[in-house]
Symmetry: C2
Subunit: 307 residues, 2 copies
Amino acid sequence: MSVIYKRVSLIGLGLIAGSMALAMRRAGLAGEITGYARSAETRDTAREIGLCDRICDSAAEAAKDADLVVLCVPVGAMEAVARDIAPVLKPGATVSDVGSVKRTVIEAVSPHIPDGVHFIPAHPLAGTEHSGPRSGFAELFDNRFCILVPQPDSDRAAVDSLAALWRGMGANVDEMDADHHDLVLAVTSHTPHLIAYTMVGVADDLRRVTDSEVIKYSAAGFRDFTRIAASDPTMWRDVFLNNKDATLEILGRFTEELFALQRAIRQGDGDHLFDYFTHTRAIRRGIIDAGQDTDAPDFGRAKAQKG
Amino acid sequence: MSVIYKRVSLIGLGLIAGSMALAMRRAGLAGEITGYARSAETRDTAREIGLCDRICDSAAEAAKDADLVVLCVPVGAMEAVARDIAPVLKPGATVSDVGSVKRTVIEAVSPHIPDGVHFIPAHPLAGTEHSGPRSGFAELFDNRFCILVPQPDSDRAAVDSLAALWRGMGANVDEMDADHHDLVLAVTSHTPHLIAYTMVGVADDLRRVTDSEVIKYSAAGFRDFTRIAASDPTMWRDVFLNNKDATLEILGRFTEELFALQRAIRQGDGDHLFDYFTHTRAIRRGIIDAGQDTDAPDFGRAKAQKG
């Protein structure tokens, strides 16, 4: 693989930026990688583990002379970062981001992008429940999707370069418009996360079952929920505040369906339950066939190792 | 490890029975293992893969002369099996089960247990989304909990032998009363499963997002739900029909909490969301500390292999 951008600047140094730095290095995609994080502690950690070639003490310093600047901060912090770096962006540079919501990020960032700079929003569909500069790993994006959301006036060559970078980091690349992205993610990620958070909260709140019991006996079902519900609180607060309409729509559908199943349980309607569960099983089969998960009978956990 | 039961009979040959047969062999816990499944196809498969020492063509034949008979059928089928095997049970034998619900199983099975036979319900908290005789593996119960639900008149020595068998198969053993078991499982397993089934159904039902999109972009959050929602439909139908009261109670709590978070999203109350998510993250930490899951940053999937 050859260098795609001479200088890449990562603003925000959490799980995604850390994994990007490692994945770009793995494939030699960037000449130099600079980085910035708002917290001095995060910057020190990043320096200590050599996450980037150079860690700067301001976003503007990190973004100066960069060919690609990637905003890797929570969705609610994107506008402030865009404002900080705008004056130093060089003509022909590309600004992108990795936010889980696209419409509000575009509205927040676009006004700050100078003429002659390309703004191409993106969202890699990958993550773990861990956060911070030490949580990244080079394989995070392997065989996952990265959705690019080119703007009506986006330069095709600039979009193609960004797509090549993501492919070089292991991802499959698709393009989508912002509103459709936000709806798809409300279904596949945002609402499931909210539900998992809720279930974990309910379990904790129940007086007759102790936390210790919940924790001990969580092998089945609940364990997956707790992993989801352990994700970064700031990131997820911003997701829900910024993808409000789509999340509320899907939540409405969800409660409607849940009430129907609840009534079937109350009425002892076994056929309704059986048919519903048979149908959902087929959907899982599709996900395995699409290569998005393992079919290992032990959930792929027995020989778990850091990738 | 030495032989605990000279002859063990497994009625029903799915994931749990298959894993028990392999785990008992791994540790040499049973002199002979007999098996029976209602479906001739399942019996043929079990014979082909040598799952048990002997596969019988009736439950009574398999249970005859057994020192331990374990009912490994869906909860709704327990009573019929108990009725079939009752006449052949030998004095001093133990009958147990692996059902996910305990109160209704006890009510259904107890009346059929002859005097002089010990009935000790049990529930191993382990499973995958796979089913059938080929889905078992010897490590399924390793470091998982098996809950025994001794009856008021249970013989202590018989309970201790069953506990020793489960420990020999790799499990940690706890004892609990039936009603408490059913409530704990409603929280940690049954309600999470119902929620996962519901979310997968909603995703499938949404016209503006195609199944193919849901499947392609399911890396985050939703993927765990589809795994849960792919579990055996018959087993789960019976779970909900038989643990109705506890499931409905927990579902009531769940929707109450969900509506509070939904309102926070609608009103843009970021503090409420942030505090809630921070709290649930701590619960996850407890589960890892209790050794019930891996802390690998890649969810333990990168190097997945059959155990």
